[in-house]
Symmetry: C2
Subunit: 450 residues, 2 copies
């Protein structure tokens, strides 16, 4: 990435000297994906000039790999011919991804230049709900008929495969486009040229529906090690395919979303670095507010036991340690479970087994930490044995409760249809804080007779 | 997944009735990956019986998809012929993955049955360090010579492609196996049969080195939308390829690792559900202990200001809210940055821009939360304006500090070679706790004249 920054500076210098041929030469050696990334760092007003220097044959490819922001800037500066070139050259799924991010006026400007059939396909795809299989699929797949021979199939691939994103899995469809089976180019190559597709195709096809969630689609594709998965409509008619590169993007997006939810941030598709400060504020403040309000219960508990604290001010000193340790113990459990749920390793029926395991883990952790703490309290803090006992017993109980709550809430959340990722550290911490304080003061009042 | 549980029960019932033909029929309809998952849930002592019922032609494939635990159980029960069958049928990278997880005695048992050339390849691959490109690559790739014609290339693919994991990207190598270029089957199909490979191959190949980190390999593969990436040694000799399905596994593994680190858990390759309670304990306790010790500083701060707290016990009630909100605000920032770093969206040179943005976000959050809290303190808690001011000013300052620390530490950690994921909620919380208490008591002593 650092090389890109250096190259970018060179290019901007060359541009200042109006040495366009050398810029073209520098960019020519690069992969279009790298070129797109470098252009992404260029000041907006210089983007169009640089784009127009690119060699014709890969300009559209570079365009397809850019971020929506830069694509929008370019389109606004493009003439009709340039718009036509990129929109016809892009894979339709990439075009749809781009248009989904743009204001209606830009979308219309683009669609007006697209060929009628391209426009129709794009309009169809734009109708699918966000995050559905339909919204990430491409309609440019390789289709075959079941009565073709291998030789005829290869002829068809040679003739029509040039502008398909993936040609290695071919979809066998009947006259009403119903999916009958799939055959891979590998199978075509390994069978004799006169074999009939019907005899060599796989009929037990793993497919997905247009309205399926993109996360499920990506997971299925990954689970079965596929490079593309067919998308069918309600009548089992083939309408498109989702390719593995898009599935990887979905997996990364969903991981980011999970991680953001776990940190109490409203998820967004936009990379952090491209998000303005006000947008970032809006994604964070509702959660902070909600959690702050929840934390006032903890304050109320303390107020209720003000007398106990007045009598033993020393107790106050251990509140942060108890709260933090409880929160950490709980979030270890909840995050492990959330991840397991998200990877489909954990089912609802595992709940008792998990609670049992977390109970054992919590006991061990509680005893270890309690003992360590007890020694520290007596040797370093030099407090009385009885107060040390109150603190360490609280620690033990808090950890057990924290791990129990931490492992149970995500599973229950998923069961009732919520995203388990919400039940991560911040919420668990807030709940565990309150519980640990109640345990603390209850133990203190009983043992110390306050 | 729930269907699998139902099917599993049916199968176990059929097994009790010794109705083997019907079990075979049920399993025959399924994808080997599903069969592997179902067998993974079977009690250990019944695994071998069920495995032996599987139709010969996909038994080895099912075996390759199982978890190492079950593979080990099976191998221990296998006779020599069965071991030979699976080891020769598996792709070498899968075989290596499996053997890496097994005790030496089982590895030797397996290798003794492997054909000499298989054994040699496996031994070579086992030597690569864990998590390196070499450890996840397969040596079964499609190689071509640059002077072949397209027709000759297809002949070679037909002859040798049957047992290759990926045949769609062919690697053009010279007599000393140095990588000269790549050509895809798509390009072969779209060019005339008499074209020479040299003229149609791509020479600007994106490749990776045997010792490169698997995470980098997976990212490169994803970045350039590849289905396989060549792995070369120091002399640029082609030694293997990493395929996209393995890259997806690596991406998921690395995401899990990041998430675990963020929750203060030592990462492990093993799914949560398959990890014993003692192992889980060992992954968690060092962090809890470390964080507990750090939290004692917070206690020390409270002890230092015991007098202030004695005079204004009401101040104690707001400690949890201040600590929690600070921790949440900090972890929002740190987690956003950690994710951005992990996706290569954020570089070290972005640090000032990020700090500036986080400062603005923190100001907005601080003012919003401070105002909300101020009203609540006066209207609901009915405390004096001056104490409410202390609490709310502390809140504002704490949030600013928390976001600053939260966004800076991960970037600095990465800069000096640490995993930024360590700088997530738990550590940030501990640091922010201490800072927020110092701010609180400093403000209190100055404003309240304690």
């Amino acid at each position: 990435m650092e090389e890109h920054k250096i190259l970018l500076e060179t290019i901007l210098e060359l541009l200042a000297e109006r040495n366009l041929p050398q810029i073209r030469e520098k960019l020519y050696e690069l992969n279009p994906i790298d070129v797109a990334q470098i252009l992404g760092e260029v000041p907006e007003e210089k983007l169009l000039i640089l784009y127009r220097i690119l060699p014709k044959e890969n300009a559209a490819e570079v365009f397809a790999e850019m971020d929506p922001d830069e694509q929008e800037t370019l389109i606004k500066g493009f003439n009709d011919r340039e718009i036509r070139e990129v929109i016809e050259e892009m894979y339709v799924d990439d075009a749809v991804d781009m248009l989904e991010e743009m204001p209606a006026v830009v979308v219309n400007k683009v669609l007006r230049q697209a060929a009628p059939e391209t426009r129709q396909v794009i309009n169809e795809l734009l109708k699918y709900p966000e995050d559905s299989a339909g919204s990430i699929m491409t309609t440019e797949y390789m289709s075959l008929k079941s009565n073709m021979t291998v030789d005829e199939a290869f002829d068809r691939i040679r003739k029509t495969g040039g502008d398909k994103e993936d040609i290695y899995t071919c979809y066998v469809i009947d006259t009403s486009r119903r999916l009958q089976g799939i055959v891979t180019v590998k199978e075509l190559l390994l069978n004799s040229k006169s074999s009939v597709i019907e005899d060599i195709m796989t009929t037990n096809v793993i497919s997905t529906h247009t309205l399926d969630d993109q996360e499920e689609v990506a997971k299925t594709l990954a689970r079965y090690d596929l490079t593309a998965i067919p998308v069918v409509d309600k009548e089992n008619r083939l309408v498109g395919i989702v390719t593995v590169d898009d599935a990887i993007d979905v997996i990364q997006e969903e991981n980011t979303e999970d991680i953001e939810m776990m940190a109490a941030i409203t998820p967004t598709d936009k990379p952090y670095i491209d998000t303005g400060f006000f947008e970032t504020y809006k994604k964070r403040i509702p959660w902070l507010l909600l959690l702050m309000i929840s934390a006032t219960f903890t304050g109320a508990i303390i107020t209720k036991y003000e007398n106990a604290l007045g009598a033993y001010v020393v107790l106050t000193a251990y509140i942060p340690m108890l709260m933090d340790t409880g929160g950490n113990a709980g979030s270890q459990a909840s995050v492990s479970i959330i991840r397991g749920l998200s990877l489909d390793e954990i089912q609802f029926s595992d709940i008792f087994r998990i609670q049992g395991k977390e109970f054992l883990v919590a006991l061990l952790c509680g005893v270890t930490l309690g003992t360590a703490n007890f020694i520290k309290l007596l040797v370093i803090d030099k407090i009385s044995v009885i107060i040390a006992a109150v603190v360490c017993l609280t620690l033990l109980f808090t950890i057990v409760v924290a791990k129990f709550v931490g492992c149970s809430l995500p599973i229950l959340a998923k069961r009732i249809g919520f995203d388990p990722a919400v039940m991560a550290s911040p919420f668990i911490t807030t709940i565990v804080d309150a519980i640990s304080l109640i345990i603390y003061f209850q133990l203190a009042s009983h043992i110390l007779n306050i």
